[in-house]
């Protein structure tokens, strides 16, 4: 039982992170029906900024402010100036721009800050005994913090979507771009803000995940696998559903923790392969995911 719970907690912690990344992808997808493959690298860049500021004596929490702002501005600018001009052409062009941003931002981070790993401080300091004991299993405070962060982000997003004018516009654009335009909504502006929002959330998510996930340090290759898991989580939940991103992220996290835990006799980690199977299965059997609306491309 305690082993099960330990794995469950670990899975939920990882799952919360997957969910947050999935959220960023979903927000972008809902507006512009593309996946921003560079999402992780935007977050990597902002985390480097945050790290650089802590090195200059800033409090880690304070550094989140410029990180979030930069994440917002970079992503919004990328949408406006790089993605939108080629959007009408075809998907391949958008994909290539995403890949270029992916390569370029990673290289830019490396150029500015070097390719050696950095020690990135935790947002909540932990010691060996900072955990709750639940039925013999340890639930560390930083796991709680991650889950709490997800709750805050999702809560904030839900409020934004349901209570604000901007949220209404974002929902309108997600449902029907043309009709949204006919309502007088500036569709392009909604795109840009959506991308920016995704960039801002990504900045927060990365600051939380970097110290927790192995290797626990800030390095150039770190974000790509996270992006893959986030993508899988988003597809599992349905690419245009916020609820789906959360459920998808948590199920993926818990599922992988269980498979890698109980299936350890198989030897080694098979997370990515499992993720592959999940993606193929979901897209083959139920392309709209668990909660997505049925509008995927099929013939």
């Amino acid at each position: 039982m305690d082993i099960f719970l330990t794995r469950l907690f670990a899975g939920m912690t990882a799952g919360s992170i997957y969910a947050m990344i999935a959220l960023t992808l979903v927000i972008v997808f809902r507006s512009s029906a593309t996946i921003n493959f560079a999402q992780g690298e935007f977050a990597l860049f902002t985390t480097y900024v945050s790290w650089w500021l802590t090195e200059r004596g800033w409090n880690i929490w304070v550094t989140l402010i410029p990180a979030v702002v930069i994440g917002f501005v970079l992503c919004a600018a990328a949408e406006r100036f790089l993605v939108r001009p080629v959007r009408r052409r075809d998907e391949a062009a958008v994909l290539i721009v995403g890949l270029a941003l992916f390569t370029g931002l990673n290289g830019l981070s490396g150029t500015i800050w070097g390719s050696d790993d950095k020690v990135y401080p935790r947002l909540v300091p932990v010691s060996v005994d900072s955990f709750l004991e639940i039925a013999g299993a340890r639930l560390f405070y930083d796991s709680l913090f991650v889950m709490g962060a997800l709750v805050v982000v999702v809560g904030g997003l839900t409020l934004l979507m349901s209570r604000t004018n901007l949220g209404l516009q974002m929902r309108a654009v997600a449902t029907n771009q043309e009709s949204a335009g006919l309502c007088g909504i500036k569709v392009g502006r909604v795109f840009m803000i959506s991308w920016g929002l995704a960039g801002a959330i990504g900045a927060v998510a990365a600051a939380i995940l970097v110290p927790i996930l192995p290797p626990g340090q800030l390095g150039l290759p770190g974000m790509f696998h996270m992006l893959i898991f986030g993508t899988v989580a988003a597809i599992l939940g349905g690419l245009d559903s916020i609820k789906g991103a959360v459920v998808g992220g948590l199920s993926l996290g818990v599922g992988l923790a269980m498979i890698n835990g109980y299936g350890s006799g198989l030897g080694g980690s098979i997370s990515l392969t499992v993720a592959l199977v999940v993606v193929v299965a979901v897209l083959g059997l139920r392309p709209s995911g668990l909660f997505g609306s049925k509008r995927l491309e099929r013939v």
Partner: protein, 383 residues
């Protein structure tokens, strides 16, 4: 690169040149006419000259050219499915890796000669290509890209888990003596690099000719039809499932061929090194920059993905080269939507027009892609 640009100059002089006035229409050359043959011959001689020059290079430079040739073959394969049928694949690195590991495992564990493993590698990749093609029957566009991305990401992990066969994380090293050129070739073990260069050139040429024949033929028309509008294609009797599955399989086999050559070239295989999804992304970038749906695009793409990072890294260190690479990539997407080959083609078409002289108005399957037929709104991509 230079030779490619040179190719326009004989055409220009052959057509008495537009001598500065852009208003005069392009010089028309009939396909099959004497002048056409002359231009073609000059181009071929130039290309052959370039290849022969490559044969005389120092080992390192020649190795780079071999590498570019191998990537060109891989991108030719990718062009077949992603370019012509429009099935976006980010994960072709898996085929590259599968071909490489087939050769590596057969040579190291089963004492086969390297050359004899090529058909096996292609066969296995063909079959796996069929399997990967299955999701493509239901999923398109971005979603298919994600499936192939997942394939590319999972491949190194699968290789690592099959450690008994593949050497797992430690990798698989093919001893140099196992890569001895066959005796009939006349190359000695010491000339292994030379041998590999020529082998790559021959393979590239074969792949080029075979694919070009497919693409200009009936099957190529079916592929185009599927890309442009699946419903219309199906309505005119194209079996979409067959086209998609076969194109993925053929594409996989060609990229597998490149993988097999790559194993011989690099000697030691690490799944986490050469065959991660980043390699798949590199192939896709090479294709787009070179020019989708053009025959020369993959060759230009192969040269670029090998030489551009090499030269940009001279300018500003490894990391900065990635930035330059990204800027170049975005510039190509914005300035030359159909890649360098497509862009060159457009410039050349302003100067010379080759008339098909085909009553059926059939496709050209041109080196630089097709002349733009009325860029109809591709309703297939709408929903």
């Amino acid at each position: 690169m230079t030779t490619l640009i040179d190719k326009t100059s004989p055409a220009r002089s052959g057509g008495q040149g537009p001598s500065g006035s852009g208003r005069r229409g392009p010089v028309v050359i009939l396909r099959g006419s004497g002048r056409y043959r002359l231009i073609l011959a000059v181009c071929l001689v130039l290309a052959a000259g370039f290849v022969a020059w490559g044969g005389t290079l120092q080992p390192f430079e020649q190795g780079q050219l071999t590498r570019a040739g191998i990537f060109a073959i891989a991108i030719l394969g990718l062009n077949f499915t992603t370019g012509y049928v429009g099935l976006l694949s980010v994960g072709h690195s898996a085929f590259l890796g599968l071909g490489a590991y087939t050769t590596g495992v057969l040579v190291v564990n089963y004492n086969q000669t390297a050359l004899s493993t090529i058909p096996v590698a292609m066969g296995i990749c063909f079959v796996v290509g069929l399997l990967v093609g299955i999701p493509a029957l239901r999923i398109r566009g971005l979603y298919l890209a994600i499936v192939t991305l997942a394939l590319g990401v999972a491949f190194p992990e699968i290789v690592a888990r099959l450690g008994g066969l593949t050497g797992g994380a430690e990798g698989l090293t093919i001893r140099r003596t196992l890569l001895r050129p066959p005796e009939w070739s006349g190359f000695t073990l010491g000339e292994k690099d030379q041998w590999l260069y020529w082998l790559t050139i021959v393979c590239l040429l074969l792949a080029f000719v075979v694919l070009r024949n497919i693409i200009t033929g009936r099957y190529g028309m079916a592929m185009n039809a599927v890309r442009q509008n699946e419903i219309a294609a199906a309505a005119s009797g194209v079996n979409i499932a067959t086209v998609k599955l076969l194109s993925f399989a053929v594409s996989g086999a060609i990229t597998g061929l490149a993988g097999s050559l790559f194993a011989m070239y690099i000697g030691s295989l690490f799944a986490e090194g050469s065959f991660t999804v980043l390699a798949g992304i590199t192939l896709l970038i090479g294709l787009v920059v070179g020019g989708e749906r053009t025959m020369l695009g993959p060759i230009i793409g192969g040269l670029i993905v090998v030489f551009l990072p090499y030269y940009t890294s001279d300018i500003g260190g490894g990391q900065f080269s990635a930035v330059l690479f990204a800027i170049a990539l975005i510039a190509v997407v914005f300035v030359a939507p159909d890649g360098i080959a497509g862009g060159l083609g457009r410039i050349i078409r302003k100067v010379v027009r080759v008339d098909a002289r085909r009553p059926d108005g059939g496709r050209e399957g041109g080196l630089f892609g097709d002349a733009p037929t009325a860029t109809a709104t591709e309703s297939g991509s709408a929903r």
